[in-house]
């Protein structure tokens, strides 16, 4: 099994440089950089990580195909490979619809757009992973992409997602993670709530979670984050990776995927990244 860590553009370039070095030292195999409109863009952060590391694989997790044009993405990855070698993965997805709306983007022909981008990116020789959480996207990604970034870190949910995989491909479980006790607690809960409330409709229906997801969405829209308290235990257990060392190891082993990515807030402190290294060495 391989292990990734997620570093996002809310972190400074200086911190990202140090974090990437430590991640590589402690045995993390992949660094994934997410895109969020209010954060620093992955186009500027991936080169910083590549420059400060030697071998670690670096991916975007994810770039929106509706925000970034295919030729910008192709040019970006071609440049990176030319300068730093073949150690990049283009992680793409439609992107968060609410954020897209703030940019005046209304996504249309989502699967077609994803497939067109996969094809263009693959032509440049880059590996392409697709962020997916619903049946159609998972199935499509398994057929057309090199890997799938599954937005689930609870064993039963991962198993549910796997049933839609039509062709063997590299599976990544990617979710909010906390490896140090109470470390960035509120971030963990909010990140988990965002993943849950934006969940795929079929997924929510199959697990009878539609009502709770609606309640949480409402809280997030009102930005009354303290109200998430009553869902905290559920969010921790079902939408995040957290707990003591034994619990963390047990959870990771139960996921049965090729890679587990410790998502935000695990990358927010250097100690936390070192702790990820301990987990890796024990597994």
């Amino acid at each position: 099994m391989e292990f990734g860590i997620n570093l996002n553009g809310d972190l400074s370039p200086e911190y990202i440089e140090r974090a990437a070095k430590i991640a590589e030292e402690v045995g993390v195999t992949h660094i994934w950089v997410g895109e969020q409109i209010s954060f620093r863009h992955p186009f500027t952060l991936l080169p910083i990580i590549a420059e400060s590391t030697e071998e670690i694989t670096i991916g975007t997790g994810i770039l929106s195909v509706f925000v970034n044009s295919f030729n910008q993405m192709c040019g970006f990855f071609e440049l990176l490979c030319e300068e730093y070698g073949d150690r990049f993965i283009a992680g793409i997805a439609p992107g968060d619809f609410e954020s897209l709306k703030s940019l005046g983007i209304i996504p249309k022909k989502v699967l077609d757009t994803i497939n067109r981008n996969i094809s263009f990116l693959k032509n440049t020789g880059i590996r392409v992973f697709v962020g997916a959480s619903g049946p159609k996207m998972i199935e499509n990604a398994s057929i057309n992409a090199d890997g799938i970034l599954l937005n689930y870190v609870f064993p039963e949910y991962v198993k549910w997602g796997k049933q839609f995989v039509k062709k063997d491909c590299y599976l990544v479980a990617y979710g909010p993670s906390q490896v140090l006790p109470r470390h960035y607690d509120s971030h963990l809960i909010i990140a988990s709530a965002i993943v849950f409330s934006g969940g795929n409709k079929t997924f929510l229906r199959d697990f009878k979670l539609e009502k709770m997801a609606g309640e949480i969405r409402n809280i997030l829209e009102r930005r009354q984050f303290n109200e998430l308290e009553r869902y905290e235990n559920f969010l921790r257990s079902h939408f995040s990776i957290c707990g003591n060392m034994d619990e963390l190891i047990e959870r990771i082993c139960l996921l049965k995927v090729e890679q587990v990515v410790f998502g935000d807030p695990a990358g927010k402190s250097l100690d936390s990244i070192r702790k990820v290294g301990e987990i890796i060495s024990k597994i």
Partner: protein
């Protein structure tokens, strides 16, 4: 007057050039329409620290403005004095002032409540910072107090000085001039078409008419759409080269006039690697000294 090296984002071997060509020079990266990715290239240039990344010439219409703002902020964090020059095509250059305003709002951490043209609604950046924002002049006539500087891109100085009047509206405006220098005429090829196209598209109708290149621009637009119907010789006629790509000799001749009028000249050699680059270094040294 400063002299810097200009690199086009889509050029082959541009990374090699950043590291090897004139390594102690300041570097500007210019977006080439549909080729290369100037933000990531600028980041790599800044990280390589061979020379100093001075700025990026980039379109606000080709990426969401918050992406441009956040990327420019990161570049200003890793490169000491980073500048942004915005360019537009003839069709949208009138909106550059609006783009500058919105960028300043985003960079100051203010929420952009709504911009109909740029389709923004309730967008705010997490980080803040200050940046010098200039625009690529499309006519050479209008300057604005909104801008920190103007980048002119009309190479032949006699045309710049006599054919196109420069007016100054603000004492603090930094005036820069971009010159594509044809260091070796034997290398005229398809790469230069994209570059000429980008330049011509950014010129106002008035300048295209002044340079008598309207028919060339028309042919180039069609060439981009249907390459099979045109040969390179249809496009790269003598007038384009004369109007847009002065030789090293031309540049040497015009330098004295430029010194009085510009704070910085950016020399973009074509091709990037040529035996004549030694002469380019001589020209640059001459300007700097």
């Amino acid at each position: 007057m400063d002299v810097s090296l200009g690199l086009w984002s889509g050029d082959p071997s541009v990374l090699k050039a950043i590291k090897e060509l004139l390594p102690d020079m300041d570097v500007w990266i210019r977006e080439q329409l549909l080729k290369g990715e100037p933000i990531s290239l600028s980041t790599i240039a800044a990280l390589k620290r061979s020379g100093n990344l001075k700025g990026c010439i980039i379109s606000p219409f080709y990426r969401p403005l918050p992406v441009l703002a956040a990327s420019a902020l990161t570049l200003s964090e890793i490169s000491e004095s980073f500048n942004v020059v915005l360019w537009g095509t003839r069709k949208n250059s009138g909106l550059l002032n609006h783009a500058v305003n919105l960028l300043r709002q985003l960079l100051s951490g203010e929420e952009v409540v709504e911009s109909e043209y740029f389709h923004l609604k309730g967008v705010k950046l997490r980080n803040q910072g200050d940046l010098s924002i200039s625009v690529l002049s499309d006519s050479g006539v209008v300057t604005s107090d909104l801008w920190d500087g103007v980048l002119y891109d009309i190479p032949f100085v006699e045309k710049l000085l006599h054919g196109v009047k420069i007016t100054e509206s603000s004492a603090r405006t930094t005036r820069r001039l971009w010159i594509d220098v044809l260091v070796d005429k034997n290398y005229l090829n398809e790469d230069i078409i994209g570059r000429a196209m980008t330049k011509l598209m950014s010129y106002s109708e008035k300048i295209v008419q002044f340079l008598a290149l309207a028919d060339v621009l028309h042919t180039m637009s069609n060439y981009e759409l249907d390459k099979s119907s045109y040969s390179i010789s249809d496009i790269l006629d003598r007038r384009i080269v004369q109007a847009l790509f002065p030789s090293l000799g031309d540049v040497t001749d015009m330098i004295e006039d430029l010194r009085e009028r510009f704070d910085e000249v950016i020399l973009a050699p074509f091709p990037l690697f040529s035996e004549n680059n030694e002469k380019l270094v001589e020209v640059c040294d001459g300007v700097r000294n």
